[in-house]
């Protein structure tokens, strides 16, 4: 699974460079998440701009990582999603996860929200 990461202050922006984020590659995402946490990265923005298909296994993996980031650094650990297309948003609405995940239209908005007012 191809994931491109870039650090913005304390925030790690992870761009999923896959058209399909599904059961085939969800285990790779979990491996990457463990590595991020081991390296002290617990404020994560997941950029799904390249993703056109997500299944329930991948959604479950994102939920798992959402819990891990929160648990790793209580109070500051966070996972936000951005650049979600209408198809993926329909899955989040169907499963009501749109009311759980912090969701932003782009990475800049997500960074601003996670950084807070200066």
């Amino acid at each position: 699974m191809k994931i491109q990461t870039e650090k913005t202050g304390t925030i790690l922006v992870a761009v999923i460079l896959e058209e399909r984020f599904d059961a085939t590659c969800a285990p790779d995402y979990i491996v990457a998440v463990k590595e991020w946490i081991e390296n002290g990265n617990v404020q994560i923005i997941l950029d799904l701009g390249h993703v056109d298909f997500i299944d329930s296994t991948a959604l479950g993996a994102i939920i798992k990582s959402f819990k891990w980031f929160r648990q790793a650094e209580v109070g500051t650990g966070e996972l936000a999603l951005c650049q979600i297309n209408n198809k993926i948003m329909s899955l989040l609405k169907l499963t009501r996860m749109d009311r759980v995940f912090p969701i932003f239209s782009n990475c800049q908005e997500a960074v601003a929200a996670m950084t807070g007012p200066e």
């Binding site: 399909r20 299944d55 329930s56 296994t57 819990k67 329909s90 899955l91 169907l94 499963t95 759980v100």
Partner: protein, 146 residues
């Protein structure tokens, strides 16, 4: 689509999740062709992929030599999807409510078992039967009104 016109899709794939993508892509294109929009087509694709994943994991317990079949028949007002495997019969109850409660604690959020809910939410009807050692899941989706 006129009532005289019928469209049919038949695929047989090995029981593995990478090949489930073939079924997903074919179903997505089939649904677009029949007048569903991109979001509806994605959701129908997702439902069929969730079914095939359940077969790979549970009916066949990751048996790459096993096969599963998809038939999709478009009638005047609906598509009938039939997915057939010859693995272990499934023992499940179709869920009637979303397994996720956004007001619940984060620790309580489920990390699995959302597939059946997605299937029943997306499709208009879902039926499962075992017939002569074949497990047959039949799902119906009505075509969008034009």
């Amino acid at each position: 689509m006129s009532s005289q016109e019928t469209h049919y899709l038949h695929l047989m794939i090995p029981s593995n999740k990478e090949d489930s993508r073939l079924i997903g892509r074919a179903v997505y294109s089939f649904c677009l062709h029949l007048g569903f929009d991109e979001i509806q087509s994605y959701q129908i694709e997702l439902a069929t992929v969730e079914v095939t994943h359940n077969i790979v994991d549970h009916a066949y317990s990751n048996c790459p030599d096993c096969t599963l079949e998809l038939h999709a028949q478009a009638l005047a007002d609906r598509i009938i999807f039939t997915i057939i495997d010859t693995g272990l019969p499934a023992d499940f109850v179709l869920p009637c409510s979303c397994p996720i409660d956004p007001d619940d604690t984060i620790d309580s959020l489920p990390e699995s078992s959302m597939g059946l809910y997605i299937i029943t939410s997306v499709m208009d009807s879902v039926e499962y039967e075992v017939y002569e050692k074949s497990n047959i899941l039949t799902m119906v989706k009505y075509l969008p009104e034009s």
